[in-house]
Amino acid sequence: MPEVVHAGLSRPWLNRRRRILLVIGLGSLLLAGIFIGGMLLDPELYGPNYSARRMAPCPDHLFGTDYLGRDMFWRSIAGLSLSIRIGLLSAAISSLIALILGSMSAIFGGKVDSAVNYLVDLCMGVPHLILLILISIAMGGGARGVVTGVAVTHWPNLTRLIRAEVMQIRSAHYVQLSRKMGKSSLYIAVRHIVPHVFPQYAVGLILLFPHAILHEAGITFLGYGLPLDTPAMGIILSESMKYLAAGMWWLSFFPGAALVLTTQLFDLVGDYLKILIDPHSARE
């Protein structure tokens, strides 16, 4: 009979499950804080301040200031918030496309499946960034272009995943049994397919965020997308390039590090959620 074993060092209260929930909770809280905080920030905080220009990091200005005296810490928070917003929006749209196309592909099969597979191959045949540039140009730049671009380049992988999942369930014995017992397609969809696919979809969606955010930062870094005075991560970083030789290294280091940490946090929360939702897939 299975006995519960406690390793000597861990405190029983803070067992593995609680630790995972703790990480997910704290992580989400932090991310929400950045997200909301950035939106509610007083623009003055990250606006020009001519008396504090070109300052290296110090207690007053954690990330230093730039050539206009703008506090880089608050600017980064604003930028992160914007990136998260755009990332979230594009990831949501992307995942929705993936859900619809993936399910349709698996359910209708045949020509629909071929068409979807063709589209997936097409999108994956062009390097992401090139496609992003093309879409951004087509939409005339701006936030719309970025959101559309990121949304359109990220659905293929998730689509394949959902397609595989739905196909697997449909051919599962218990679903076929349901069908033979005369249950309607809607019943099967709601009772069998959705509960199985939804967790994978949710995890896939959350793990999509960091990719979307990074691609958004990338495309704005290159100069496509948002106007140059918006505090977006890509713009902050591309501007910082001009001052590197002048020795203002903090302009690129800290904002970028903040971006990395934020995406890592998303990845962390996503991975832990994955463990929670599908414990058998995680072996560690």
Binding site: V4, V5, A7, R17, P279
Partner: protein, 291 residues
């Protein structure tokens, strides 16, 4: 040979458990084998009979020393009278103690079978490998084939060759005849009889008790993690009164040649196939004890 009856392997009170994380992410220990004792002598075939999934394969892994990392073991093992330590296992496996797995899935799919049978020593064993193939009626060209190209029978013989090539003393075969009917299986098992007759010791792990009755010298019945009884094959003859444990007797009674007899509980009419078995007795889950 004056030590015809030398005890090759003596396993006492073997216990194998695994640590893992359950769905609620708590650490649990699962005991697969709680108390297993077997003994194999030279020239003998011991059959360890248990239902599929009862953990009997783990006996083979435990003796070879190839259990997974999260396994915890207890008990003692002796090989030819000496304690079988981790070091000894490492020294003996693949040389004096050989393992014959179930199927072709245990062969590297990207390596030709000849190369695999020759193993690490490689070319130095080429003659022996050809000899083995010839012994088992495999054509020379077989050595150039890949596992996926082998038929079931060929695969079995290739796996047998791996033990032949190193001339192992103790051979542990895990389900060597999966899915074969009695006639074909007995044909296949003639090779093991031949090995035993040459003075080797063979442990046959199987779920097919009928097979065991035809081929083995001794039978150990394995149920729910423990060896319930070990008896000579003769004890399984006649009316089964040579068997001591009620489970063995029930198993004997349920054999086709004995009429598929399955007792029922006098109280609740539950089939004896569902009764609880422990070290000494069997009883129905409704609480009524039957000896």
């Amino acid at each position: 040979m004056n030590d015809e009856k030398e005890a090759l392997l003596d396993v006492r009170n073997l216990r194998v458990s695994f640590e893992s994380y359950d769905a609620r992410l708590e650490k649990v220990a699962f005991t697969a084998i709680s108390d297993l004792g077997v003994m194999v002598n030279r020239g003998e075939i011991l059959a360890v009979v248990g239902s599929s999934g009862s953990g009997k394969s783990l006996l083979a892994h435990a003796v070879m020393g190839i259990l997974p990392e999260n396994a915890r073991t207890g008990g003692e093992m002796y090989y030819r009278g000496k304690p079988l330590t981790v070091r000894e296992k490492a020294r003996l496996r693949g040389r004096e103690i050989a393992f014959i797995p179930q199927s072709v899935a245990f062969l590297d799919p990207l390596m030709r079978v000849g190369e695999q049978v020759r193993g690490v020593p490689g070319d130095s064993l080429r003659t022996k490998q050809r000899e083995a193939f010839a012994h088992f009626d495999l054509k020379n060209e077989t050595e150039k084939l890949y596992p996926f190209q082998l038929s079931g029978g060929m695969a079995r013989r290739v796996l047998l060759s791996t033990a032949y090539v190193v001339d192992a003393e103790l051979i542990i075969a895990d389900e060597p005849t999966p899915g074969l009917d009695l006639e074909l299986a007995l044909e296949a098992l003639k090779d093991f009889r031949a090995m035993a007759d040459r003075g080797k010791g063979v442990i046959l792990i199987t779920h097919d008790i009928d097979l065991a009755l035809h081929v083995a010298d001794t039978i150990s019945i394995f149920y729910d993690g423990r060896v319930v009884e070990t008896a000579d094959t003769d004890a399984f003859g006649g009316d089964g009164s040579g068997l001591r444990h009620p489970y063995s007797r029930a198993l004997f009674g349920a054999l086709p040649q004995n009429g598929f007899r399955l007792d029922r509980c006098p109280e609740c009419d539950g089939s004896s196939a569902t009764w609880i078995v422990d070290g000494k007795a069997m009883r129905c889950c409704c609480g009524d004890a039957r000896g």
